[in-house]
């Protein structure tokens, strides 16, 4: 039986402790969260508030002219619920001159430019606010590579990266985030009508169960087929996980010396703290 249910009290306790520890050990007491109004960023924001206090959290709303008005409203609902500091900065004025230069840019290019424009603004705000950027990526999208490298994937720490999307929803519900945010179709909101599941070609509910077997339970692809998953679905997902591994590791450094960063120069980030 595949059961992705988690003990939400325990998850919450560990993730709050993680955010507090990894922020303060880096010499900070504040955090900045890009708040889209989706369930991932809303939950990251909630956990950061519990870890560091609402006064120490800056939520940054980053609408583009075609962003859904619902996204802004849902983000505002979270800001009001949690009492965090907030700022809204349109990325339209950054993105438009680039897109005007490339009028034939594909939706992928346009989406990546928007995601990276948001990253620039969030990191700039983190300098102003004096806080670390808390990431919002979950295990499903990290494994599938459903993220823009140096865009929405950029962060100083990532509390949700070991929770599948369905587990993020479970935790969000347990902490009392608005049901409207939990239930709406996940979207990167990069163009009108875009949804994660439409773009990926499968649902999170399906793929989370498969990833759980492949990754957490160490099933072979053949084991997964025997467990009832369609062969083409399994091979599509396995291939996607492998092809996107480059997004999960630092760029390889060509080894020349006796001691090379990444290979035999090994320290945790918490080194000395």
């Amino acid at each position: 039986m595949i059961d992705l249910s988690i003990n939400t009290d325990l998850a919450r306790k560990i993730l709050v402790g993680f955010i507090r520890s990894e922020t303060t050990r880096a010499g900070f007491s504040r955090a900045v969260i890009p708040l889209s109004g989706g369930v991932d960023s809303s939950l990251s924001c909630y956990l950061a508030v519990e870890a560091l206090g609402a006064d120490n959290i800056l939520a940054v709303r980053l609408p583009y002219k075609s962003s859904s008005p619902d996204s802004l409203e849902h983000a505002q609902a979270v800001i009001d619920l949690l009492g965090v500091q907030a700022v809204t900065i349109s990325i339209t004025e950054i993105v438009e001159p680039i897109l005007e230069h490339f009028t034939d840019a594909s939706q992928i290019r346009r989406g990546n430019i928007m995601a990276r424009a948001r990253m620039i603004v969030v990191y700039d705000q983190s300098e102003v606010f004096g806080g670390l950027v808390v990431g919002t990526g979950n295990k499903t999208e990290i494994l599938l590579g459903y993220t823009t490298l140096y865009g929405d994937s950029a962060c100083a720490l990532n509390p949700l990266g070991d929770l599948y999307k369905t587990q993020v929803r479970q935790l969000a519900r347990a902490v009392g985030l608005p049901e409207e945010i939990i239930q709406k179709p996940p979207t990167a909101d990069l163009w009108a009508g875009q949804t994660d599941e439409g773009e990926l070609g499968f649902t999170y509910a399906e793929v989370d169960r498969l990833l759980y077997l492949l990754v957490d339970q160490r099933y072979t692809p053949e084991d997964c087929t025997q467990a009832g998953f369609a062969e083409d679905f399994v091979s599509k997902v396995v291939d996607r996980v492998r092809r996107n591994h480059f997004k999960r590791v630092l760029p390889p450094i060509a080894k020349l010396s006796n001691r090379t960063i990444g290979y035999d120069f090994l320290y945790l980030r918490d080194w000395g703290t």
């Binding site: 003990n7 325990l10 993680f18 520890s21 990894e22 320290y267 945790l268 918490d270 000395g272």
Partner: protein, 288 residues
């Protein structure tokens, strides 16, 4: 005879021995104020856990001449304790180690004999393997110390039992993993099960000190425990929080439990040795 045992479920600074020493001294002060007789610190309590290339920089030679140990020996007067550190031997091999300190002396040093090098663990890359499992005599009777993976294997506790240990002192820096629907992580549940099993099977006291805090994304789950020779839980620390966990032990429980359940009396060590010898000599089995 009753004694008060305390488990220092501390968080540590990664690679900062002096900052960790101050934490030890503070816990020693608290323990003394609480009338503690024996204080157990977790694995690598003086150094932090994921040391990697910090290993040679934090290593110490335990003696009264070594500045960190000198301060511990001075502070621990009237209190016995176990501290975790990196031991560098005379030939510059580095061991995950635990020192038993009593009355200004280092009575015993245990080197971790099982170094997990799989999954998230990489100890065998940085440390030398210990090569002895020995019980030793203290003012509270004969004890034994094991470090984390040592007691994930059944043989080191078994050896300590046969070597006369009536109290097993286990130390860990156990990274939490396995989140399901239960109130504790799978790793916590597993350790609690086996500690309880050792206490029951060996009709002995089992105390386990596990650290708390985080190192990068790893959480350490605390939940330190003391089990009595009936396998009953005497004390338990909170999960994922720093704490000084105190429990009182009545050593006469050994008499009562073993009068009821003479597992030690009936243990057939010579039979075990005969069979082990046969198994080791059977070249088809590939044992080492």
């Amino acid at each position: 005879m009753r004694l008060t045992l305390a488990l220092a479920q501390i968080n540590t600074h990664l690679g900062d021995v002096h900052a960790n020493l101050e934490i030890h001294l503070e816990y020693i002060r608290q323990a003394r104020a609480a009338g503690v007789d024996l204080l157990l610190f977790p694995e690598l309590s003086l150094t932090g856990y994921v040391l990697q290339d910090l290993t040679p920089a934090v290593a110490r030679r335990p003696s009264s001449d070594e500045p960190v140990f000198r301060r511990l020996l001075e502070a621990a007067k009237g209190l016995d304790m176990v501290v975790g550190f990196v031991d560098e031997d005379a030939r510059h091999r580095f061991y995950i180690a635990a020192a038993y300190i009593s009355r200004g002396q280092i009575l015993h040093v245990h080197h971790k004999v099982y170094l997990p090098t799989y999954g998230l663990f990489d100890e065998g890359r940085f440390f030398a393997w210990g090569d002895a499992v020995r019980a030793f005599d203290t003012r509270f009777g004969r004890l034994g110390v094991l470090i984390c993976e040592d007691f994930w294997h059944a043989s080191p506790p078994h050896l300590l039992w046969l070597d006369g240990a009536d109290m097993m002192l286990f130390t860990s820096a156990s990274p939490g993993r396995g989140l399901g629907t239960e109130a504790q992580l799978e790793s916590a549940r597993w350790v609690e099960h086996i500690n309880r099993a050792y206490a029951s099977l060996y009709t002995t006291f089992v105390a386990h000190a596990n650290r708390s805090g985080f190192e990068d994304g790893l959480n350490f789950w605390g939940g330190s425990t003391i089990y009595d020779p009936n396998g009953e839980l005497l004390a338990k620390g909170p999960y994922h929080e720093e704490a000084l966990v105190i429990g009182e032990i009545d050593l006469n429980q050994l008499h009562r439990t073993r009068a009821r359940l003479p597992l030690l009396r009936d243990e057939r060590t010579a039979l075990t040795l005969r069979e082990l010898t046969r198994i080791l000599n059977d070249s088809n089995r590939g044992h080492r």
